[in-house]
């Protein structure tokens, strides 16, 4: 049965994550479609597992092991520094993307 995720839940989490990103010197993925997909994934995991696990990391079921995967995850700052974005591409280094005339990121660049 598909999980129900409300628009207001997406907006609320987006605001929270955006504030976190701003405080730490990075930004959310400016590609709206990608950003919303990731946020939906976080919310889906919240509803399924009770925690906001990264949608691009496997939830093992071991609470201790999975703690690191709660967004913002344990690896995100290192990944942003090295790759310019975290693994699931929610958080990006500022100016590490090219905005085209449609104002979308290079989330899909090269692919």
């Amino acid at each position: 049965m598909p999980l129900e995720i409300k628009e207001e839940e997406i907006r609320e989490l987006e605001k929270e994550l955006s504030e976190y990103a701003q405080k730490n010197g990075f930004v959310l993925n400016p590609d709206k479609q990608a950003r919303e997909m990731i946020i939906k994934g976080l919310l889906a995991n919240q509803k399924r597992y009770g925690k906001r696990y990264c949608p691009c990391r496997r939830v093992s079921g071991n609470l201790e092991e999975d703690k690191k995967k709660i967004c913002p995850c344990w690896w995100h700052k290192e990944e942003i520094e090295k790759e310019g974005h975290c693994h699931c591409r929610l958080f990006w280094k500022k100016d590490n993307f090219n905005k085209n005339e449609n104002n979308s990121s290079d989330f899909r660049k090269g692919f």
Binding site: M37, I38, N45, P55, R57, R58, G61, G110, F111
Partner: protein, 144 residues
């Protein structure tokens, strides 16, 4: 989703139909049966008993990099059809297999040859990167 076909059972009375379970395939109008949907039931047969190298894409529904790599995997399946087998495994629906291969971040691509994992790619990569890995694997196979 299972594809079921009705086949006439010649031994039974005329008009009787027998339901036959076909292997699961990702429906692809351009190249039907290019990728295999893998699960805990068919994984061993499709991967470990394959006479060709197998590329397995471990993915999840809400993971955008998984969605982005999907058409790349589809193209790989088309371009290397007959030389390798390509399968997709949803990690949420098949947790035991995902955990047995210690899949942590997704997408993860595992390349199998002769029942062993010979290469691994984690994260979103380009068509060229995957193509290069496959060509290396096929080259060593020719040399053996």
């Amino acid at each position: 989703m299972a594809e079921l076909a009705d086949a006439r059972d010649s031994k039974s009375r005329p008009g009787n139909r027998v339901r036959v379970q076909l292997p699961l395939r990702a429906l692809n109008l351009k190249n039907f049966m290019a990728e295999i949907i893998l699960n805990e039931k068919n994984f061993s047969e499709e991967v470990f008993q394959s006479d060709k190298p197998v590329l397995v894409d471990f993915w999840s529904e809400y993971c955008p990099p998984c969605q982005l790599i999907s058409p790349i995997i589809e193209k790989i399946a088309e371009d290397f059809q007959g030389k390798i087998k390509v399968g997709k495994l949803n990690v949420d629906q098949n947790p035991l297999i995902a955990s047995s291969f210690m899949i942590e971040a997704i997408p993860t691509l595992l390349f199998f040859k002769n029942r062993k994992v010979v290469e691994k790619i984690v994260g979103l990569v380009s068509y060229e990167v995957i193509k290069e890995k496959i060509e290396e694997i096929l080259k060593t196979e020719e040399e053996e």
